[in-house]
């Protein structure tokens, strides 16, 4: 399932159907500003196949606006079961873990209250895509380990569990160990970003390949035509 970034806003009313505990920049870099009857917002429109269109938006007055994004669907999508399936389809296609969903239609809620899942923390599977996203947003699509360490808190709201000290390396937090493992060249396996051809090692970090950029395009993070990159990259 490929997520396409749409240039135009939806021409129908959209309704909030889920809140994801991730900043908008974590989900996409193709962000535009908009305004409606409620307020000003930053957001993006997407499509999956020919049948599913959705928006991700952050309104200025949303609670936890810095670390959450709200998923909107057209107002005629009302059936809760259908909404739930669409939310799962979207998060799956955008490589967003289920634990990041702080609320979805059908769940009871209290206005102004949003609780993050206690299970939601940075795991290696998510960190692989995250480092790829961060590196792709840097000049030359490259990032050093230092840069990744600096940027991760801007893309991912580190939970207390992430910030806890590592039992094995007392001077590092758990998320830093996760990062280290993610880009370690010693790490083998078919799922690493290097094995999948999404990135290659550089002396100080990593560089995203053309294949990696294609992958990021396919999850809606970027909108960079592959033809902009040379075959060798």
């Amino acid at each position: 399932m490929t997520v396409r970034v749409l240039k135009y806003e939806p021409d129908v009313d959209v309704v909030p159907q889920a809140i994801i505990w991730r900043p908008l920049r974590y989900c996409t870099l193709v962000i535009r500003e908009g305004q409606d009857d409620l307020d000003r917002y930053n957001g993006a429109s997407f499509a999956i196949g020919n049948d599913l269109r959705f928006d991700l938006r952050v309104y200025q007055g949303h609670i936890h606006a810095e670390v959450t994004v709200t998923l909107y669907l057209a107002e005629d999508v009302r059936d809760e079961k259908n909404v739930s399936e669409i939310v799962s389809r979207v998060t799956n296609a955008m490589a967003i873990p289920v634990s990041a969903i702080a609320w979805r239609r059908g769940q009871k809620f209290q206005f102004g209250k949003l609780v993050r899942s206690p299970q939601d923390r940075l795991r290696e599977s998510e960190a692989r895509v995250l480092v790829l996203k961060i590196a792709a947003s840097q000049p030359e699509r490259s990032a050093t380990i230092g840069k990744l360490r600096e940027e991760i808190p801007r893309y991912f709201d580190l939970s207390p569990a992430d910030k806890a000290r590592s039992p094995s390396r007392k001077n590092e937090a758990l998320w830093q160990i996760i990062l280290r493992n993610t880009i370690s060249s010693h790490k083998t396996g078919a799922r690493t970003i290097f094995a999948q051809g999404w990135a290659r090692k550089t002396p100080s970090g990593l560089k995203v390949t053309r294949r990696g950029m294609d992958y990021l395009n396919s999850i809606g993070f970027l909108e960079t035509p592959s033809s902009d990159l040379s075959e060798t990259e």
Binding site: P10, D11, V12, D13, V14, V15, P16, Q17, I19, Q35, D36, D37, L38, D39, R40, Y59, Q60, G61, H62, I63, H64, T68, T70, E75, R78, W103, R105, F109, Q110, F111, G112, K113, L114
Partner: protein, 225 residues
């Protein structure tokens, strides 16, 4: 206890301000009341479906006539302004009840005699922030005077709605209000919406050929003077 008689301009109910209750005589009988911010409607008599419809229609008719008569006079002259606010609230509920009666019948009121329909009323505030089109300074003034908040249809939609953030007005210019109308469905923890037809008590207004959803407010603070 102060008693305001609905039957003065016509109709057959009585509004007891202290109890915030309107009782309806005759058969079938029943009552509509606000108790601790909750609207309770009770129908008694032959066949609850029939009784409930009659009670609601009677109450609505009585309340409308009474309200019209009061508004023709000087509101507040007899110390009736509180009663006017409550009557407007009551009318909104009754209008909704009739609009969605089919749905209502499926609820507890439709099938069991002498049961009560209790809907809780949100007490927490909501706010809207200033913008240059739909929440201007002059609109805030109109909202303050009318005690109503209007919302138009979103682009491409035929369903007008009022949109607001939950919670108190933060450090931004805007308005803060409370309402007894539940902002469901289509709402989320970070966003409240009141759709006309889909939300109990939301009314339809027309202005310059355009439809607006309208909610009445109980308290209102203008933070964009």
């Amino acid at each position: 206890m102060r008693r305001v008689d609905f039957s003065r301009p016509g109709g057959g109910g009585a509004w007891r301000q202290g109890a915030r209750q309107m009782t309806l005589p005759g058969r079938p009988s029943g009552s509509i009341a606000f108790v601790d911010g909750t609207l309770r409607s009770t129908a008694r008599g032959r066949g609850v479906r029939c009784a409930f419809t009659s009670v609601v229609l009677k109450a609505r008719s009585a309340a409308r006539k009474w309200l019209a008569a009061c508004e023709r006079d000087e509101p507040g002259k007899d110390g009736t302004s509180d009663c006017l606010v409550l009557t407007r609230m009551l009318l909104r509920e009754l209008d909704f009840t009739m609009q969605s009666f089919d749905q209502h019948l499926k609820g507890p009121v439709g099938f069991a005699g002498d049961k009560e329909d209790i809907r809780s009323v949100p007490e927490d505030p909501f706010h809207r922030v200033e913008n240059t089109t739909t929440q201007t300074k002059s609109i805030a003034r109109m909202q303050e005077q009318s005690r109503e908040i209007w919302g138009r249809s979103a682009r491409g939609s035929g369903q007008p709605s009022v949109k607001a953030y939950p919670g108190s007005l933060p450090n931004r210019r805007g308005v803060e209000f409370t309402t007894d109308i539940k902002p469901m469905p289509g709402s989320a923890p970070n966003e409240a919406r009141w759709y006309w037809e889909w939300c109990a008590g939301v009314q339809l207004r027309h202005k310059a050929g355009e439809d607006f959803a309208c909610i009445s407010v109980i308290t209102f603070t203008n933070g964009q003077p």
